[in-house]
C-alpha cells in the first residue's frame, strides 16, 4: 500500500502559521524551528553551501578559464566523478608551488595557490567537497539503514533475536572504529585500499551506534497501544516495524545521523591521510593533507586550506545536528 509521506502532508496543512493548533510535527515545522536558532541556521547555511558546491559546481577546464581566469588546474577526481582521463596534467608543464593570492608571489588567478604539481588548490578543494559530502552521506547512510534494521528488529522482537543481534553489534562496537575500518579496507580491497572500501567500512563501523539508539527508542514505542492495535487488526510484523515502529522512533536517529556525517567525514579524511582512503590523484581533503605533510614549513597553506575545509564542514553538520536536536525535543520550549 503506497502512502503519502507524512512530512509532505504536514507541509500542506501547516499553512496557517499562526494557528495555535498548528501541527507540532513534520519537516516544515522542524525546519522553521531550526531557522529560529542562530547557530543552527549557521550550520544549515554551511551544510547547504558545501552540498551546493559538491552537487553543482564543476570547474571544467573550459569553464574555469572563464570563471577564474587562466587556471592550469587539473583536478583528478576520476574515482568519484568519473572525469575524463585527458585531464591528466602535462607533467612537465608546471612544477612550481604558488602561494595564495594575498601572500608574496601569489596571483589572483590561483586564489588559494597551487600544489606542488602546480594544480590549482581552490579547484581541488571544491572537488574535495564532492568526495567529503559523498563519503559523509553514503557512509552514514549505510550505518543508518543497517543500524535501523538491526535495532528495530531486535527491539521489537526482544528475546533471543535481541540477544544475538545486540551482542554481535556490541562486539563490533568494542573494536576501535579506525582499526576496524583499516583492517576491513585492506582485506576487502586485497591490499589496494581506496575510498569506496573506506566508505563501506566506516558505514559498517557505525551500524552499532545507530542500532543501539533506535533499539532504545523501539523498546518504548513497541509498548504503545497503536502497535497493539495494529497487531490486533492483523497487520503483519514487517509492516508494523516499517510503518509504525520506525517512523515513531526516528527523531533522535535523524539528529544522530546529521552529527554522524561530520564524524564520518573526519574519519575518512583521517583514513585518506593515513593512505587507506582516497588515493592520489583524487582530490580529497584528507588526501590533500597527506600530500601536504612533507611541505608544511615551505608551504603551510597546503595544509591549512584542506584543514579549514574539514573544520568548517564538520562544524556545519554539528551545528545543524544540535539545532535539529533542540527542534525535535519537545521538552525544550522556545
Amino acid at each position: 500500500m503506497a502512502h503519502a509521506d507524512p512530512d509532505t502532508q504536514a507541509d500542506v496543512e501547516q499553512e496557517p502559521v499562526d494557528d495555535e493548533f498548528e501541527a507540532k510535527v513534520g519537516l516544515s515545522y522542524t525546519l522553521a524551528k531550526v531557522k529560529q536558532d542562530t547557530t543552527a541556521r549557521l550550520g544549515m547555511y554551511i551544510v547547504g553551501a558545501v552540498i551546493f558546491l559538491a552537487a553543482f559546481v564543476t570547474i571544467d577546464s573550459n569553464i574555469s578559464t572563464l570563471t577564474f581566469g587562466r587556471i592550469d588546474n587539473f583536478v583528478f577526481a576520476e574515482n568519484v566523478l568519473g572525469n575524463h582521463p585527458e585531464r591528466h596534467p602535462p607533467a612537465a608543464e608546471a612544477e612550481t608551488t604558488l602561494p595564495p593570492f594575498f601572500a608574496d608571489g601569489g596571483v589572483l588567478s590561483h586564489p588559494l595557490g597551487t600544489d606542488i604539481y602546480g594544480r590549482d588548490y581552490f579547484t581541488r578543494l571544491i572537488y574535495g567537497s564532492q568526495v567529503s559530502v559523498t563519503v559523509g552521506i553514503v557512509a552514514t547512510g549505510i550505518g543508518l539503514i543497517g543500524g535501523t534494521i538491526v535495532g528495530a528488529v531486535s527491539g521489537y522482537y526482544g528475546g533471543w533475536i535481541d540477544d544475538v543481534f545486540m551482542r554481535t553489534v556490541e562486539i563490533l562496537y568494542s573494536i576501535p572504529a579506525l582499526v576496524l575500518v583499516i583492517v576491513f579496507t585492506v582485506f576487502v580491497s586485497g591490499g589496494r585500499p581506496d575510498i569506496q572500501y573506506a566508505v563501506i567500512g566506516v558505514g559498517i563501523a557505525f551500524i552499532p551506534v545507530f542500532a543501539r539508539l533506535i533499539r532504545s527508542r523501539v523498546l518504548s514505542v513497541r509498548e504503545m497501544d497503536y502497535i497493539e492495535a495494529a497487531r490486533a487488526s492483523g497487520v503483519r510484523d514487517r509492516n508494523i516495524i516499517l510503518r509504525h515502529v520506525i517512523p515513531n522512533s526516528f527523531a533522535p536517529v535523524l539528529v544522530l545521523a546529521t552529527l554522524q556525517i561530520g564524524v564520518t567525514i573526519l574519519i575518512v579524511a583521517g583514513l585518506s591521510f593515513l593512505g587507506y582512503g582516497a588515493q592520489p590523484p583524487t582530490a580529497d581533503w584528507g588526501q590533500m593533507l597527506s600530500s601536504a605533510r612533507g611541505f608544511m614549513l615551505p608551504s603551510p597553506w597546503l595544509s591549512i586550506w584542506p584543514g579549514l575545509a574539514i573544520l568548517v564542514t564538520i562544524m556545519g553538520f554539528n551545528l545543524l545536528g544540535d539545532g535539529l536536536q533542540d527542534a525535535l525535543d519537545p521538552r525544550i520550549k522556545d
Binding site: 500500500m1 502512502h3 502532508q9 510535527v25 526482544g158 497493539e228 492495535a229 490486533a232 487488526s233 497487520v235
Partner: protein, 366 residues
C-alpha cells in the same frame, strides 16, 4: 436466542512465567457470546480482564502464555489443546499465528482499546490509518477504501469527514479519537468487537455519547461486543449479559437485570455497593476494603475470602464450584460462592478479614 454462540471460551488459563513465580492471570474462565449480544466482562484492576481479551486474540506477550482451555470462534479453534503424554499440546485444528492474523484479527474480531490518545499512530493521518485497516481486511481498491473510510467517519458522528480525513490524531479531541477507533473497528465489518474499557479515559458526557453511538451502531450492524469495563454504570447502560471477574476467575455470570437485582455473589454485591445508584439513597458509599491479592499466590479456598464481608471459616478451606444457581428467561445465572453450596457455610464461624477492618488495617468507626 436459539443461535449458536459465535465465541465460546471454556476453562481458559493464561499464565505469566515471571522470576517471582507463575502469575495465574486468567485461571479457568468460561463464557460465551451470542450473535448481536453485548457481553460485559467486569472486575477491578488486575482481575485479568485484559489478559482474557488478549488471549481471545492470541496476542498474549512474553512471558505470558495460554496454557489451557478452549476458545472457539464460529467454527474456528482459536485455542485448543490435547493431551500428549504428560503435556498439553496444541491440537492440529488450532489456527496458526499466520491464520490468526489473516483470518481472525481485524476482519472477524476487532479490538477497541482503552486509551484513544495512545491507540492512533501520531505520524499518520487518521484517514490514512483507517484506509490502511480497510485495505488490509477487505477486498476493496484504494478509492473505494477511501470512500468507505469517509462513510465510516460520518457514521460515527465525525463532522465534515472529508476534511477531517487528512487530519492527524493530535488534532482530534479524546472523544473524537474514540469515535475514530470505533469507526476503525467497524470498518472491517467484524462480527465481534472486543471493547477494552473504551470509555474509561473519557469524561462522563462524552462517555454517554459514545455508549449511545455504540448502541445505535450495534443495532444497525448486528455486531456482537465483548465489553470490558470496571464501571457497573456502563454495564447497566449497555450490556445484555455480564461476567464478573475476580482474581483470574469468573465469580458470577447473569443477564444484566438478574445481576443487579438478584445478586448471588458477595463480590458483585460489593461492587454494586461501591458505586452510586440512582434507585437507592444512602449516606455513604461502601468501598471494597483491602486490595486484590497477587495472582502468583492466590488465597486458599474462595479467592475472595480475604476481603469478603460474608466470609466464614469454611471459605478459607473449600474452593467454591462455579455452578448454575437459577435460570432467568432461559439464561443461566451462575455464581461461585459457598453460600449456595451445601458445605456447612451456615454453621461456620465468620472470620476477621480486611472487609471488617478499615483501609490500611485501621478500625472502622461505625
Amino acid at each position: 436466542m436459539t443461535d449458536e454462540p459465535i465465541l465460546t471460551v471454556e476453562n481458559l488459563k493464561t499464565q505469566f512465567f515471571t522470576e517471582q513465580g507463575v502469575v495465574r492471570a486468567v485461571d479457568g474462565i468460561s463464557f460465551d457470546v451470542y450473535p448481536g449480544e453485548i457481553v460485559g466482562l467486569v472486575g477491578e484492576s488486575g482481575a485479568g480482564k485484559s489478559v482474557a481479551t488478549s488471549s481471545v486474540m492470541r496476542l498474549v506477550d512474553n512471558p505470558g502464555e495460554i496454557v489451557g482451555g478452549e476458545i472457539t470462534y464460529k467454527n474456528k479453534t482459536l485455542v485448543g489443546f490435547e493431551r500428549a503424554g504428560d503435556e498439553l499440546v496444541p491440537r492440529d485444528e488450532m489456527l496458526t499465528n499466520e491464520e490468526m492474523r489473516t483470518q481472525v484479527r481485524g476482519n472477524e474480531i476487532a479490538i477497541i482499546f482503552q486509551d484513544p490518545m495512545e491507540s492512533l499512530n501520531p505520524v499518520y493521518t487518521i484517514g490514512h490509518q483507517l484506509k490502511e485497516f480497510i485495505l488490509l481486511n477487505r477486498e476493496l481498491d484504494k478509492k473505494a477504501a477511501r470512500e468507505e473510510a469517509i462513510t465510516m467517519l460520518r457514521e460515527v458522528g465525525i463532522p465534515e469527514p472529508e476534511e477531517r480525513f487528512d487530519d492527524y490524531p493530535h488534532e482530534f479531541s479524546g472523544g473524537m479519537r474514540q469515535r475514530v477507533l470505533i469507526a476503525m473497528a467497524l470498518a472491517c465489518q467484524p462480527e465481534l468487537i472486543i471493547a477494552d474499557e473504551p470509555t474509561t479515559a473519557l469524561d462522563v458526557t462524552v462517555e454517554g455519547q459514545i455508549l449511545e453511538l455504540v448502541k445505535e451502531l450495534q443495532e444497525e450492524y448486528g455486531t456482537s461486543f465483548l465489553w470490558v469495563t470496571h464501571d457497573m454504570g456502563v454495564v447497566a447502560e449497555i450490556c445484555d449479559r455480564v461476567n464478573v471477574m475476580y482474581l483470574g476467575e469468573i465469580v458470577e455470570q447473569a443477564t444484566v437485570d438478574e445481576l443487579f437485582y438478584e445478586t448471588q455473589h458477595p463480590y458483585t454485591n460489593a461492587l454494586l455497593n461501591s458505586i452510586p445508584r440512582p434507585d437507592q439513597t444512602i449516606e455513604e458509599l461502601v468501598p471494597i476494603k483491602g486490595v486484590m491479592p497477587e495472582a502468583i499466590n492466590p488465597p486458599s479456598g474462595c479467592r475472595f475470602h480475604t476481603r469478603c464481608p460474608d466470609a466464614r471459616e469454611v471459605c478459607t478451606e473449600i474452593e467454591p464450584t462455579y455452578s448454575e444457581i437459577t435460570t432467568y428467561d432461559g439464561w443461566p445465572h451462575n455464581a461461585s460462592c459457598l453460600k449456595h453450596e451445601d458445605v456447612g457455610y451456615d454453621v461456620s464461624e465468620p472470620i476477621e478479614n480486611e472487609a471488617r477492618k478499615g483501609i490500611e488495617g485501621t478500625e472502622v468507626v461505625q
